[in-house]
């Protein structure tokens, strides 16, 4: 088994683990639980992409990993803004600061 095959196998394994984890968190029960999935796909996706990038010897894939990490952070911050509001009764009036 060459090192390339090992890296690709590791990518498949990590992807599978992320898939199982996603299934659990997206199930809920609370919205904050679901936001954990953004974190999971952020770090798991970065791991998979880096493994693929080195395994397939395609350095540009690293940029996708960078993008994924950055955007996952941005999206979690935006989601948390609304999840924290979700149990308050009226959200439509809170938009004026």
């Amino acid at each position: 088994m060459t090192i390339t095959n090992f890296l690709l196998a590791a990518a498949a394994f990590v992807l599978l683990m992320v898939a199982i984890g996603l299934a659990r968190i997206l199930y809920g029960p609370t919205d904050v639980d679901r936001i954990l999935s953004v974190q999971l796909i952020g770090s798991g996706g970065v791991a998979v992409l880096l493994l693929l990038s080195v395994g397939l010897k395609l350095p540009p894939i690293m940029d996708v990993a960078l993008m994924l990490g950055l955007l996952a952070t941005f999206v979690s911050v935006a989601f948390l803004r609304d999840a924290a509001d979700s149990s308050s009764v009226s959200t439509s009036t809170t938009e004026d600061r």
Binding site: N5, L8, A9, A11, A12, L15, L16, A19, L22, A23, L26, G28, D31, R34, I35, S37, V38, I41, G42, G45, V48, L49, L52, L56, L58, P59, P60, I61, D63, V64, L66, M67, L68, L70, L71, A72, T73, F74, V75, V77, A78, F79, R81, D82, A83, D85, S86, S90, T91, S92, T93, T94, E95, D96, R97
Partner: protein
């Protein structure tokens, strides 16, 4: 090779499962979180299809800003208690059968694709040297099919004009009601002080790298938009009023530069959007730089939505 395929099977299965979840999820918020995961997964699928440029765009726009736009709408609609009519079971079955037929038809098309696929890759590769760029996708976007790209920028601006025109008369020219944190915690403020400088650097890198490897104005611009929105959400920066002159200028500078270079093509090269070969690369870089700025501002304002209150209120 089989290992790569194993990866892809897991990916495809996960993708279909997540897409199904997006459709059947009970609450809108859950559906949107799942859709976000779907967008980021699609980015990995595009990598598997060796379309790294598309992967970057999908992660940035499909996974990032689209879900933020939907999230804004979901949180505004959450307060309303309007009745939602239920859909009868026979109707669902009929729709399901119909959609299965559509899917089966498309699958049959995929199955019966010609063995020798038509491709423009050799032509693009041959003419790549003329464009002065190293990235074939960027060459298609900015040289071979530049009019598409120019019109796409116009579509973005038109969408923004459409969104703004939905403001009520009293709020016209005011400030978009982007939802912000009521009381940002210190750790969030810390994140928003440290991340945007890094993000802006990455955005510029994406645009710069786009000339020779996957990346480009869109991917860079989206990162800039995300960073700007981040600082506005943590209230480190105010949401600008849409009548601000600098804002309007930033919105149009990219498309204007593109159009100007395109018109100059009539005089210095042989047709509209033709670049003189000797300076084609610097011209494209200048156009892309201004476009990156304009795209960043346009995307952020599309997310922020129509103006809802007047400044200084």
């Amino acid at each position: 090779m089989t290992l790569v395929f194993a990866c892809e099977v897991v990916l495809a299965g996960l993708l279909v499962a997540i897409a199904t979840w997006t459709i059947v999820a009970r609450t809108a918020f859950a559906a949107i979180v799942v859709f976000m995961v779907y967008g980021l997964l699609l980015a990995i699928v595009w990598v598997a299809l060796s379309a790294v440029d598309v992967a970057l765009t999908e992660a940035a726009i499909g996974g990032g800003v689209t879900s933020i736009v939907l999230l804004g709408a979901a949180s505004r609609l959450r307060g309303s208690k309007a009745a939602v009519p239920s859909v009868s079971f026979p109707f669902k079955i009929t729709a399901g059968v119909l959609c299965a037929v559509v899917s089966a038809g498309l699958a049959a098309v995929v199955f019966s694709l010609p063995d020798v696929a038509p491709t423009l890759a050799p032509v693009a590769k041959e003419n790549l040297a003329e464009s002065g760029l190293g990235n074939p996708v960027a060459a298609v976007l900015f040289v071979f099919r530049a009019h598409d790209t120019l019109l796409e920028k116009v579509v973005l601006l038109l969408a923004l004009v459409g969104v703004w025109s939905l403001a009520s008369d009293s709020a016209w020219g005011g400030v978009p009601a982007l939802r912000v944190y009521a009381s940002p915690s210190r750790i969030l403020v810390f994140l928003d002080q440290i991340l945007p400088p890094i993000g802006i650097m990455i955005g510029i890198y994406m645009f710069w790298a786009g000339a020779s490897q996957p990346g480009g104005a869109f991917q860079g611009g989206t990162i800039l938009a995300a960073m700007w929105l981040l600082t506005m959400m943590a209230r480190l920066q105010d949401v600008p009023s849409i009548s601000a002159r600098w804002l309007r200028l930033l919105l149009v500078v990219g498309p204007m530069a593109f159009l100007a270079v395109g018109l100059a093509g009539f005089f210095f090269a042989d047709s509209f959007l033709a670049y003189p070969p000797s300076i084609s690369k610097p011209l494209i870089i200048v156009v892309e730089a201004t476009l990156t700025l304009s795209i960043g501002v346009t995307l952020a304002l599309l997310v922020a939505g129509p103006p809802e209150r007047l400044p200084q209120q």
